[in-house]
Protein backbone atom coordinates (compact mmCIF):
# COMPACT_ATOMS: atom_id res chain seq x y z
CA UNK A 1 0.00 0.00 0.00
CA UNK A 2 2.83 2.29 0.86
CA UNK A 3 4.31 1.64 -2.48
CA UNK A 4 1.06 2.54 -4.22
CA UNK A 5 0.99 5.87 -2.65
CA UNK A 6 4.59 6.38 -3.39
CA UNK A 7 3.89 5.63 -7.01
CA UNK A 8 0.87 7.74 -6.93
CA UNK A 9 2.99 10.58 -5.72
CA UNK A 10 5.52 10.17 -8.37
CA UNK A 11 2.74 10.11 -10.94
CA UNK A 12 1.32 13.26 -9.66
CA UNK A 13 4.71 14.81 -9.56
CA UNK A 14 5.27 14.16 -13.18
CA UNK A 15 1.78 15.15 -14.29
CA UNK A 16 1.51 18.41 -12.38
CA UNK A 17 1.58 21.64 -14.34
CA UNK A 18 2.24 24.14 -11.66
CA UNK A 19 5.71 23.25 -10.40
CA UNK A 20 5.85 26.32 -8.28
CA UNK A 21 4.19 24.69 -5.27
CA UNK A 22 5.35 21.12 -5.41
CA UNK A 23 5.93 21.16 -1.71
CA UNK A 24 2.36 22.12 -0.93
CA UNK A 25 0.84 19.63 -3.34
CA UNK A 26 3.02 16.88 -1.89
CA UNK A 27 1.77 17.71 1.54
CA UNK A 28 -1.86 17.80 0.27
CA UNK A 29 -1.53 14.38 -1.27
CA UNK A 30 -0.14 12.88 1.91
CA UNK A 31 -3.06 14.32 3.88
CA UNK A 32 -5.66 13.26 1.34
CA UNK A 33 -4.22 9.76 1.24
CA UNK A 34 -4.62 9.48 4.99
CA UNK A 35 -1.88 6.93 5.27
CA UNK A 36 -0.22 8.50 8.29
CA UNK A 37 -3.29 9.71 10.22
CA UNK A 38 -1.50 8.93 13.46
CA UNK A 39 1.26 11.31 12.42
CA UNK A 40 -0.37 13.94 10.27
CA UNK A 41 -4.02 14.57 9.44
CA UNK A 42 -6.68 17.16 8.59
CA UNK A 43 -8.43 18.75 11.47
CA UNK A 44 -12.15 18.14 11.89
CA UNK A 45 -13.09 21.29 10.02
CA UNK A 46 -10.75 20.45 7.23
CA UNK A 47 -9.41 23.96 6.96
CA UNK A 48 -6.11 23.12 8.67
CA UNK A 49 -3.87 20.16 9.31
CA UNK A 50 -2.10 18.82 12.32
CA UNK A 51 1.25 17.20 12.80
CA UNK A 52 0.44 14.94 15.71
CA UNK A 53 3.88 13.57 16.32
CA UNK A 54 6.78 15.66 15.14
CA UNK A 55 9.31 12.90 15.86
CA UNK A 56 7.50 10.31 13.79
CA UNK A 57 6.96 12.94 11.12
CA UNK A 58 10.66 13.71 11.04
CA UNK A 59 11.79 10.11 10.96
CA UNK A 60 9.11 8.55 8.72
CA UNK A 61 7.64 11.17 6.42
CA UNK A 62 10.33 13.75 5.89
CA UNK A 63 13.01 11.40 4.56
CA UNK A 64 10.57 9.64 2.29
CA UNK A 65 8.64 12.54 0.78
CA UNK A 66 10.59 15.73 1.38
CA UNK A 67 14.10 16.88 1.11
CA UNK A 68 13.98 18.44 4.55
CA UNK A 69 16.18 16.79 7.11
CA UNK A 70 14.41 18.14 10.16
CA UNK A 71 11.04 19.37 11.23
CA UNK A 72 12.16 22.96 11.68
CA UNK A 73 13.25 23.12 8.10
CA UNK A 74 9.86 21.74 7.03
CA UNK A 75 8.07 24.38 9.10
CA UNK A 76 10.20 27.09 7.56
CA UNK A 77 9.20 25.84 4.15
CA UNK A 78 5.55 26.00 5.19
CA UNK A 79 6.09 29.57 6.28
CA UNK A 80 7.52 30.44 2.92
CA UNK A 81 4.18 29.37 1.43
CA UNK A 82 2.44 31.54 3.94
CA UNK A 83 1.17 28.75 6.15
CA UNK A 84 0.68 29.81 9.71
CA UNK A 85 1.06 27.84 12.82
CA UNK A 86 -2.20 27.96 14.77
CA UNK A 87 -1.17 29.35 18.07
CA UNK A 88 -2.57 27.84 21.21
CA UNK A 89 -2.26 28.68 24.80
CA UNK A 90 -0.66 26.13 27.06
CA UNK A 91 -4.10 25.26 28.38
CA UNK A 92 -5.46 24.74 24.89
CA UNK A 93 -2.41 22.60 24.11
CA UNK A 94 -3.12 20.35 27.07
CA UNK A 95 -6.76 19.98 26.15
CA UNK A 96 -6.08 19.54 22.46
CA UNK A 97 -7.59 16.38 20.99
CA UNK A 98 -4.41 16.02 18.92
CA UNK A 99 -2.13 15.89 21.88
CA UNK A 100 -0.04 18.38 23.74
CA UNK A 101 2.84 18.36 21.32
CA UNK A 102 0.86 18.58 18.12
CA UNK A 103 1.48 21.38 15.63
CA UNK A 104 -1.48 22.77 13.72
CA UNK A 105 -0.90 24.68 10.45
CA UNK A 106 -3.31 26.67 8.41
CA UNK A 107 -3.50 28.36 5.06
CA UNK A 108 -6.73 29.91 3.76
CA UNK A 109 -6.48 27.90 0.49
CA UNK A 110 -5.19 24.68 1.97
CA UNK A 111 -8.43 22.76 2.66
CA UNK A 112 -9.48 19.14 2.72
CA UNK A 113 -10.43 17.73 -0.71
CA UNK A 114 -9.89 21.09 -2.33
CA UNK A 115 -7.12 20.56 -4.82
CA UNK A 116 -8.27 23.48 -6.95
CA UNK A 117 -7.51 25.97 -4.28
CA UNK A 118 -3.89 24.82 -4.15
CA UNK A 119 -3.27 26.91 -7.25
CA UNK A 120 -3.67 30.01 -5.14
CA UNK A 121 -0.91 28.99 -2.73
CA UNK A 122 2.31 30.53 -3.85
CA UNK A 123 5.75 30.75 -2.47
CA UNK A 124 6.39 34.18 -1.18
CA UNK A 125 8.83 36.07 -3.37
CA UNK A 126 10.63 38.43 -1.06
CA UNK A 127 11.35 38.44 2.61
CA UNK A 128 8.73 40.54 4.27
CA UNK A 129 8.88 42.13 7.59
CA UNK A 130 5.61 40.47 8.40
CA UNK A 131 7.43 37.17 8.70
CA UNK A 132 9.71 38.50 11.36
CA UNK A 133 6.87 39.74 13.39
CA UNK A 134 4.55 36.79 12.98
CA UNK A 135 7.01 33.96 13.23
CA UNK A 136 9.33 35.20 15.87
CA UNK A 137 8.59 32.29 18.15
CA UNK A 138 9.33 29.69 15.54
CA UNK A 139 12.51 31.33 14.49
CA UNK A 140 13.81 31.74 17.96
CA UNK A 141 13.02 28.14 18.64
CA UNK A 142 15.07 27.10 15.71
CA UNK A 143 18.12 28.93 16.79
CA UNK A 144 17.72 27.74 20.34
CA UNK A 145 17.65 24.14 19.16
CA UNK A 146 21.07 24.75 17.80
CA UNK A 147 19.99 22.70 14.84
CA UNK A 148 21.36 23.30 11.43
CA UNK A 149 19.77 26.19 9.71
CA UNK A 150 19.74 26.67 6.03
CA UNK A 151 22.26 29.25 5.05
CA UNK A 152 19.37 31.33 3.92
CA UNK A 153 20.14 35.04 3.78
CA UNK A 154 16.56 35.90 4.63
CA UNK A 155 16.68 33.79 7.75
CA UNK A 156 19.91 35.22 8.99
CA UNK A 157 18.52 38.64 8.37
CA UNK A 158 15.43 37.78 10.35
CA UNK A 159 17.46 36.35 13.22
CA UNK A 160 19.80 39.29 13.29
CA UNK A 161 16.87 41.59 13.38
CA UNK A 162 15.29 39.78 16.27
CA UNK A 163 18.39 39.82 18.38
CA UNK A 164 19.29 43.42 17.79
CA UNK A 165 15.71 44.35 18.34
CA UNK A 166 15.70 42.91 21.85
CA UNK A 167 19.02 44.56 22.57
CA UNK A 168 17.67 47.77 21.20
CA UNK A 169 14.61 47.50 23.39
CA UNK A 170 16.83 46.92 26.38
CA UNK A 171 18.96 49.94 25.59
CA UNK A 172 15.92 52.02 24.86
CA UNK A 173 14.50 51.20 28.27
CA UNK A 174 17.78 52.07 29.90
CA UNK A 175 17.88 55.40 28.13
CA UNK A 176 14.30 56.06 29.12
CA UNK A 177 15.08 55.33 32.76
CA UNK A 178 18.09 57.62 32.65
CA UNK A 179 16.04 60.33 31.04
CA UNK A 180 13.44 60.01 33.75
CA UNK A 181 16.08 60.24 36.46
CA UNK A 182 17.62 63.26 34.82
CA UNK A 183 14.24 64.93 34.64
CA UNK A 184 13.67 64.16 38.32
CA UNK A 185 16.98 65.68 39.31
CA UNK A 186 16.29 68.68 37.13
CA UNK A 187 12.99 69.16 38.93
CA UNK A 188 14.61 68.84 42.33
CA UNK A 189 17.28 71.30 41.38
CA UNK A 190 14.66 73.70 40.12
CA UNK A 191 12.69 73.42 43.35
CA UNK A 192 15.79 74.06 45.40
CA UNK A 193 16.61 77.10 43.33
CA UNK A 194 13.08 78.31 43.79
CA UNK A 195 13.26 77.80 47.55
CA UNK A 196 16.55 79.60 47.72
CA UNK A 197 15.19 82.53 45.77
CA UNK A 198 12.14 82.70 48.01
CA UNK A 199 14.35 82.77 51.09
CA UNK A 200 16.52 85.39 49.52
CA UNK A 201 13.59 87.62 48.70
CA UNK A 202 12.14 87.14 52.19
CA UNK A 203 15.46 88.08 53.69
CA UNK A 204 15.67 91.14 51.49
CA UNK A 205 12.16 92.17 52.41
CA UNK A 206 12.88 91.86 56.10
CA UNK A 207 16.13 93.71 55.76
CA UNK A 208 14.49 96.42 53.74
CA UNK A 209 11.70 96.91 56.23
CA UNK A 210 14.23 97.14 59.03
CA UNK A 211 16.14 99.77 57.15
CA UNK A 212 12.94 101.63 56.32
CA UNK A 213 11.83 101.68 59.91
CA UNK A 214 15.27 102.80 60.98
CA UNK A 215 15.18 105.69 58.52
CA UNK A 216 11.69 106.54 59.72
CA UNK A 217 12.86 106.53 63.32
CA UNK A 218 15.78 108.76 62.54
CA UNK A 219 13.60 111.31 60.79
CA UNK A 220 11.04 111.18 63.60
CA UNK A 221 13.71 111.78 66.20
CA UNK A 222 15.11 114.64 64.17
CA UNK A 223 11.72 116.22 63.69
CA UNK A 224 10.95 115.86 67.33
CA UNK A 225 14.20 117.44 68.38
CA UNK A 226 13.54 120.37 66.06
CA UNK A 227 10.05 120.67 67.50
CA UNK A 228 11.20 120.52 71.09
CA UNK A 229 13.96 123.04 70.44
CA UNK A 230 11.53 125.49 68.92
CA UNK A 231 9.04 124.90 71.73
CA UNK A 232 11.65 125.61 74.37
CA UNK A 233 12.71 128.69 72.46
CA UNK A 234 9.12 129.91 72.73
CA UNK A 235 9.39 129.54 76.47
CA UNK A 236 7.62 126.24 76.93
CA UNK A 237 9.18 124.16 79.64
CA UNK A 238 9.83 120.62 78.49
CA UNK A 239 10.18 117.67 80.83
CA UNK A 240 13.70 116.47 81.30
CA UNK A 241 14.92 113.64 79.14
CA UNK A 242 12.12 114.08 76.66
CA UNK A 243 14.36 113.67 73.65
CA UNK A 244 15.61 110.40 74.87
CA UNK A 245 12.15 109.18 75.67
CA UNK A 246 10.73 109.76 72.28
CA UNK A 247 13.69 108.21 70.65
CA UNK A 248 13.42 105.12 72.74
CA UNK A 249 9.70 104.84 72.30
CA UNK A 250 9.75 105.22 68.55
CA UNK A 251 12.54 102.80 68.30
CA UNK A 252 10.84 100.34 70.50
CA UNK A 253 7.70 100.54 68.44
CA UNK A 254 9.12 100.53 64.99
CA UNK A 255 10.11 96.89 64.78
CA UNK A 256 6.50 95.99 65.20
CA UNK A 257 5.76 97.33 61.76
CA UNK A 258 7.66 94.46 60.34
CA UNK A 259 5.89 91.91 62.40
CA UNK A 260 3.12 89.68 61.21
CA UNK A 261 -0.42 91.04 61.36
CA UNK A 262 -1.50 88.44 63.89
CA UNK A 263 1.22 89.50 66.21
CA UNK A 264 0.28 93.13 66.25
CA UNK A 265 -3.41 92.42 66.38
CA UNK A 266 -3.17 90.19 69.37
CA UNK A 267 -0.69 92.03 71.51
CA UNK A 268 -1.13 95.70 70.67
CA UNK A 269 -2.69 96.82 73.92
CA UNK A 270 0.09 95.34 75.92
CA UNK A 271 2.89 96.61 73.76
CA UNK A 272 1.61 100.08 73.20
CA UNK A 273 0.91 100.57 76.83
CA UNK A 274 4.23 99.37 77.97
CA UNK A 275 6.70 100.50 75.37
CA UNK A 276 6.08 104.20 74.91
CA UNK A 277 6.39 104.64 78.63
CA UNK A 278 9.78 103.12 78.77
CA UNK A 279 11.02 106.01 80.83
CA UNK A 280 9.05 106.61 83.94
CA UNK A 281 10.27 110.07 84.68
CA UNK A 282 8.01 111.67 82.15
CA UNK A 283 5.23 111.19 79.70
CA UNK A 284 7.00 110.85 76.41
CA UNK A 285 4.44 111.66 73.78
CA UNK A 286 1.72 114.24 73.42
CA UNK A 287 -1.02 111.69 74.03
CA UNK A 288 0.53 110.79 77.35
CA UNK A 289 0.77 114.34 78.62
CA UNK A 290 -1.60 113.57 81.48
CA UNK A 291 0.87 111.10 82.87
CA UNK A 292 3.28 113.87 83.73
CA UNK A 293 0.82 115.27 86.16
CA UNK A 294 -0.87 112.16 87.44
CA UNK A 295 1.31 109.69 89.31
CA UNK A 296 1.64 106.42 87.48
CA UNK A 297 -0.66 103.73 88.69
CA UNK A 298 0.48 100.23 89.35
CA UNK A 299 -2.36 97.83 89.84
CA UNK A 300 -2.00 95.13 92.46
CA UNK A 301 -1.95 91.47 91.53
CA UNK A 302 0.98 91.24 89.14
CA UNK A 303 2.68 87.91 89.14
CA UNK A 304 6.46 88.23 89.09
CA UNK A 305 9.03 85.52 88.60
CA UNK A 306 12.19 86.24 90.53
CA UNK A 307 15.24 84.39 89.28
CA UNK A 308 18.02 84.83 91.83
CA UNK A 309 20.46 82.57 93.60
CA UNK A 310 21.34 84.76 96.57
CA UNK A 311 19.09 84.20 99.58
CA UNK A 312 19.51 87.75 100.90
CA UNK A 313 18.64 89.29 97.56
CA UNK A 314 15.67 86.96 97.21
CA UNK A 315 14.28 88.04 100.56
CA UNK A 316 14.85 91.67 99.89
CA UNK A 317 13.56 91.74 96.36
CA UNK A 318 10.48 89.68 97.03
CA UNK A 319 9.75 91.86 100.04
CA UNK A 320 9.85 94.95 97.85
CA UNK A 321 7.71 93.29 95.21
CA UNK A 322 5.10 92.23 97.70
CA UNK A 323 5.10 95.75 99.03
CA UNK A 324 3.97 96.83 95.57
CA UNK A 325 1.18 94.30 95.52
CA UNK A 326 2.93 91.70 93.40
CA UNK A 327 2.89 88.00 94.04
CA UNK A 328 6.32 86.49 93.72
CA UNK A 329 7.60 83.15 92.62
CA UNK A 330 11.29 82.37 93.11
CA UNK A 331 13.59 80.08 91.20
CA UNK A 332 17.32 80.03 91.80
CA UNK A 333 18.92 79.29 88.45
CA UNK A 334 18.56 79.80 84.72
CA UNK A 335 17.40 76.29 83.89
CA UNK A 336 14.58 76.42 86.40
CA UNK A 337 13.62 79.80 85.01
CA UNK A 338 13.23 78.34 81.53
CA UNK A 339 11.20 75.35 82.65
CA UNK A 340 8.99 77.55 84.82
CA UNK A 341 8.37 80.02 82.02
CA UNK A 342 7.50 77.15 79.72
CA UNK A 343 4.70 76.11 82.04
CA UNK A 344 3.43 79.38 83.48
CA UNK A 345 3.10 82.94 82.44
CA UNK A 346 4.17 85.94 84.46
CA UNK A 347 3.60 89.65 84.09
CA UNK A 348 7.29 90.29 84.60
CA UNK A 349 10.53 88.42 85.17
CA UNK A 350 13.39 89.75 87.28
CA UNK A 351 16.48 87.83 86.33
CA UNK A 352 19.87 87.75 87.97
CA UNK A 353 22.75 87.27 85.54
CA UNK A 354 25.39 85.29 87.37
CA UNK A 355 23.74 82.10 88.55
CA UNK A 356 24.56 78.42 88.80
CA UNK A 357 23.50 76.02 86.02
CA UNK A 358 22.69 78.68 83.47
CA UNK A 359 23.28 82.41 83.45
CA UNK A 360 20.39 84.79 83.14
CA UNK A 361 21.30 86.16 79.72
CA UNK A 362 21.50 82.74 78.10
CA UNK A 363 18.34 81.64 79.87
CA UNK A 364 16.59 84.70 78.48
CA UNK A 365 17.69 84.00 74.94
CA UNK A 366 16.18 80.52 75.26
CA UNK A 367 12.99 81.86 76.79
CA UNK A 368 12.75 84.28 73.88
CA UNK A 369 12.47 81.35 71.52
CA UNK A 370 9.01 80.62 72.87
CA UNK A 371 8.01 83.80 74.69
CA UNK A 372 8.53 87.21 73.20
CA UNK A 373 6.11 89.06 75.39
CA UNK A 374 7.01 88.72 79.00
CA UNK A 375 9.30 91.58 80.04
CA UNK A 376 12.53 90.18 81.42
CA UNK A 377 14.61 92.58 83.49
CA UNK A 378 18.24 91.86 84.21
CA UNK A 379 19.37 92.45 87.78
CA UNK A 380 23.08 92.84 87.85
CA UNK A 381 25.99 94.49 89.52
CA UNK A 382 27.99 94.32 86.29
CA UNK A 383 27.12 97.56 84.68
CA UNK A 384 29.91 97.72 82.17
CA UNK A 385 28.70 98.79 78.75
CA UNK A 386 29.71 95.62 76.98
CA UNK A 387 27.82 93.47 79.47
CA UNK A 388 24.72 95.59 79.12
CA UNK A 389 24.79 95.26 75.36
CA UNK A 390 25.09 91.52 75.73
CA UNK A 391 22.07 91.32 78.01
CA UNK A 392 19.95 93.35 75.64
CA UNK A 393 21.09 91.30 72.69
CA UNK A 394 19.97 88.20 74.51
CA UNK A 395 16.45 89.56 74.58
CA UNK A 396 16.35 91.14 78.00
CA UNK A 397 14.19 94.24 78.04
CA UNK A 398 15.97 96.33 80.61
CA UNK A 399 18.56 96.42 83.34
CA UNK A 400 18.06 97.02 87.01
CA UNK A 401 21.47 97.78 88.44
CA UNK A 402 22.33 96.17 91.76
CA UNK A 403 22.08 97.30 94.43
CA UNK A 404 18.74 98.85 93.76
CA UNK A 405 16.42 100.71 96.05
CA UNK A 406 12.73 100.19 96.46
CA UNK A 407 12.19 103.18 94.19
CA UNK A 408 14.45 101.80 91.47
CA UNK A 409 12.40 98.66 91.48
CA UNK A 410 9.18 100.61 91.47
CA UNK A 411 10.34 102.62 88.47
CA UNK A 412 11.00 99.42 86.62
CA UNK A 413 7.61 97.98 87.51
CA UNK A 414 5.93 101.17 86.36
CA UNK A 415 7.88 101.14 83.15
CA UNK A 416 6.68 97.70 82.18
CA UNK A 417 3.44 97.22 84.02
CA UNK A 418 1.84 100.63 84.13
CA UNK A 419 -1.80 100.62 83.13
CA UNK A 420 -1.63 96.97 82.42
CA UNK A 421 -4.06 94.46 83.74
CA UNK A 422 -2.43 91.60 85.60
CA UNK A 423 -2.51 88.35 83.66
CA UNK A 424 -4.39 86.69 86.47
CA UNK A 425 -7.31 89.08 85.89
CA UNK A 426 -7.08 88.81 82.11
CA UNK A 427 -7.24 85.11 82.45
CA UNK A 428 -10.50 85.16 84.32
CA UNK A 429 -11.98 87.54 81.75
CA UNK A 430 -10.85 86.20 78.46
CA UNK A 431 -10.18 82.60 79.35
CA UNK A 432 -7.00 81.27 77.87
CA UNK A 433 -7.08 83.11 74.60
CA UNK A 434 -4.63 85.78 75.59
CA UNK A 435 -2.35 83.39 77.30
CA UNK A 436 -2.01 80.79 74.66
CA UNK A 437 -2.52 82.14 71.18
CA UNK A 438 0.01 84.90 71.06
CA UNK A 439 2.71 82.60 72.22
CA UNK A 440 1.89 80.01 69.63
CA UNK A 441 1.68 82.53 66.84
CA UNK A 442 4.88 84.22 67.76
CA UNK A 443 6.91 81.10 67.71
CA UNK A 444 7.28 81.00 63.98
CA UNK A 445 6.84 84.49 62.76
CA UNK A 446 8.40 86.75 65.30
CA UNK A 447 11.49 84.93 66.42
CA UNK A 448 13.61 87.11 64.20
CA UNK A 449 12.23 90.22 65.80
CA UNK A 450 12.69 89.03 69.33
CA UNK A 451 15.98 90.75 69.80
CA UNK A 452 15.15 93.89 67.97
CA UNK A 453 13.56 96.15 70.56
CA UNK A 454 16.44 95.90 73.01
CA UNK A 455 18.94 96.36 70.24
CA UNK A 456 17.21 99.46 69.03
CA UNK A 457 17.09 100.87 72.49
CA UNK A 458 20.68 100.17 73.00
CA UNK A 459 21.60 102.13 69.89
CA UNK A 460 20.19 105.37 71.27
Amino acid sequence: MAEDISNNFSNTKTSQKTGSNDFVRKLFKILEAGEYTNIICWTENGDSFVVLDTNEFTTKILPRHFKHSNFASFVRQLNKYDFHKVKRTSEEKQNSQYGEHSWEFKHPFFRIHDEQALDSIKRKTAVQKKIVLDENTVLVKQSADGSAIEPDSATSLILNNTVSKSKFTQLKRKVETLEQELQQIKNENYNMKLGYQKMQSKYNTVLESFLTSKALNDSLVNNFNILSTSLSQQGLELPQGLNFNLASSTNAQSPRKTQSPEFSSVVPTQITLQKPNSNVDSGPSSTASNDIIEPPVLRPGFHVLLVEDDAVCIQLCSKFLMKYGCSVEVVTDGLSAISTLEKFRYDLVLMDIVMPNLDGATATSIVRSFDNQTPIIAMTGNIEDQDLVTYLQHGMNDILAKPFTKDDLHSMLIRYLRNRIPLSEQRSNTASKDDQTPLAEENGSASLISEEPPLKKQLI
Binding site: A311, V312, Q315, L316, K319, P403, K406
Partner: protein, 138 residues
Protein backbone atom coordinates in the same frame (compact mmCIF):
# COMPACT_ATOMS: atom_id res chain seq x y z
CA UNK B 1 48.29 99.49 90.55
CA UNK B 2 45.84 97.92 92.98
CA UNK B 3 42.68 99.66 91.90
CA UNK B 4 41.47 103.05 90.85
CA UNK B 5 38.14 102.67 92.61
CA UNK B 6 38.24 104.37 96.02
CA UNK B 7 36.78 102.55 99.00
CA UNK B 8 33.57 104.18 100.36
CA UNK B 9 34.05 106.21 103.49
CA UNK B 10 31.21 104.74 105.54
CA UNK B 11 31.00 101.11 106.49
CA UNK B 12 27.25 101.13 105.99
CA UNK B 13 25.27 103.07 103.43
CA UNK B 14 22.35 103.94 105.64
CA UNK B 15 20.29 105.28 102.80
CA UNK B 16 19.99 101.76 101.57
CA UNK B 17 19.76 99.97 104.88
CA UNK B 18 17.17 102.40 106.28
CA UNK B 19 14.87 101.53 103.46
CA UNK B 20 15.17 97.88 104.36
CA UNK B 21 14.70 98.62 108.00
CA UNK B 22 11.56 100.55 107.12
CA UNK B 23 10.08 97.32 105.80
CA UNK B 24 9.99 96.12 109.40
CA UNK B 25 6.73 97.98 109.90
CA UNK B 26 4.65 95.13 108.52
CA UNK B 27 7.05 92.41 109.53
CA UNK B 28 8.91 93.37 112.75
CA UNK B 29 12.16 91.44 112.52
CA UNK B 30 12.43 91.46 108.75
CA UNK B 31 15.63 93.51 108.46
CA UNK B 32 17.32 91.89 111.44
CA UNK B 33 16.64 88.40 110.12
CA UNK B 34 17.95 89.46 106.79
CA UNK B 35 21.15 90.74 108.41
CA UNK B 36 21.57 87.52 110.38
CA UNK B 37 21.14 85.59 107.17
CA UNK B 38 23.72 87.80 105.52
CA UNK B 39 26.24 87.34 108.34
CA UNK B 40 25.94 83.61 107.99
CA UNK B 41 26.35 83.88 104.23
CA UNK B 42 29.38 86.15 104.52
CA UNK B 43 31.19 83.88 106.97
CA UNK B 44 30.55 80.89 104.74
CA UNK B 45 31.76 82.73 101.67
CA UNK B 46 34.93 83.98 103.37
CA UNK B 47 35.66 80.42 104.41
CA UNK B 48 35.10 79.24 100.84
CA UNK B 49 37.44 81.87 99.48
CA UNK B 50 40.12 80.94 101.97
CA UNK B 51 39.74 77.25 101.22
CA UNK B 52 40.02 77.99 97.52
CA UNK B 53 43.15 80.06 98.07
CA UNK B 54 44.72 77.27 100.13
CA UNK B 55 43.53 74.62 97.74
CA UNK B 56 43.26 74.62 93.97
CA UNK B 57 43.35 78.43 93.86
CA UNK B 58 41.02 78.59 90.85
CA UNK B 59 40.80 82.27 89.97
CA UNK B 60 37.46 81.88 88.18
CA UNK B 61 35.98 80.25 91.23
CA UNK B 62 37.38 83.02 93.44
CA UNK B 63 35.91 85.67 91.18
CA UNK B 64 32.56 83.94 91.34
CA UNK B 65 32.63 83.81 95.15
CA UNK B 66 33.55 87.49 95.25
CA UNK B 67 30.69 88.28 92.95
CA UNK B 68 28.26 86.31 95.05
CA UNK B 69 28.94 88.07 98.33
CA UNK B 70 29.21 91.39 96.62
CA UNK B 71 25.58 91.22 95.56
CA UNK B 72 24.05 90.72 98.97
CA UNK B 73 26.53 93.11 100.64
CA UNK B 74 25.59 95.85 98.24
CA UNK B 75 21.88 95.09 98.57
CA UNK B 76 22.10 95.70 102.30
CA UNK B 77 24.19 98.86 101.94
CA UNK B 78 27.32 97.21 103.36
CA UNK B 79 29.35 99.10 100.88
CA UNK B 80 32.91 98.58 102.09
CA UNK B 81 32.48 94.79 102.10
CA UNK B 82 30.88 95.07 98.68
CA UNK B 83 33.87 97.07 97.56
CA UNK B 84 36.29 94.41 98.79
CA UNK B 85 34.22 91.69 97.14
CA UNK B 86 34.30 93.58 93.85
CA UNK B 87 38.10 93.69 94.10
CA UNK B 88 38.22 89.94 94.68
CA UNK B 89 35.96 89.46 91.70
CA UNK B 90 38.13 91.67 89.48
CA UNK B 91 41.42 90.14 90.62
CA UNK B 92 39.97 86.75 89.88
CA UNK B 93 39.16 87.91 86.37
CA UNK B 94 42.59 89.59 86.11
CA UNK B 95 40.89 92.85 85.32
CA UNK B 96 42.64 94.63 88.13
CA UNK B 97 46.04 94.22 89.68
CA UNK B 98 47.73 94.03 86.30
CA UNK B 99 51.08 95.83 86.23
CA UNK B 100 53.26 94.38 83.49
CA UNK B 101 50.85 91.88 81.97
CA UNK B 102 53.31 89.09 82.85
CA UNK B 103 51.75 88.25 86.22
CA UNK B 104 50.99 84.62 86.98
CA UNK B 105 47.95 83.33 88.86
CA UNK B 106 49.81 83.44 92.17
CA UNK B 107 50.09 87.20 91.85
CA UNK B 108 46.33 87.57 91.67
CA UNK B 109 45.80 84.97 94.38
CA UNK B 110 48.06 87.06 96.60
CA UNK B 111 45.99 90.17 95.92
CA UNK B 112 42.82 88.25 96.68
CA UNK B 113 44.25 86.99 99.95
CA UNK B 114 45.10 90.55 100.98
CA UNK B 115 41.65 91.74 100.03
CA UNK B 116 40.00 88.87 101.90
CA UNK B 117 41.70 90.06 105.08
CA UNK B 118 40.42 93.55 104.45
CA UNK B 119 36.93 92.22 103.80
CA UNK B 120 36.99 90.41 107.12
CA UNK B 121 37.98 93.60 108.88
CA UNK B 122 35.12 95.42 107.21
CA UNK B 123 32.81 92.58 108.14
CA UNK B 124 33.83 92.88 111.79
CA UNK B 125 33.17 96.61 111.60
CA UNK B 126 29.70 95.98 110.15
CA UNK B 127 28.87 93.51 112.91
CA UNK B 128 29.87 96.00 115.56
CA UNK B 129 27.83 98.76 114.06
CA UNK B 130 24.75 96.61 113.44
CA UNK B 131 24.94 95.01 116.88
CA UNK B 132 24.80 98.50 118.28
CA UNK B 133 21.88 99.34 116.02
CA UNK B 134 19.81 96.27 116.85
CA UNK B 135 20.93 96.24 120.48
CA UNK B 136 21.88 92.62 120.04
CA UNK B 137 25.14 90.76 119.70
CA UNK B 138 25.13 89.84 116.00
Amino acid sequence: MPTSVPIPTDVINWEILSEIVSMDEDNPDFSKELIIQYIDQAETTFAHIEAELDGSCDLTQLASLGHFLRGSSAALGLQRIAWACERIQNYGRKREGVVSGQEDDAHFAGLIRQTLEQARLEFAAVRRELSKFYHTQL
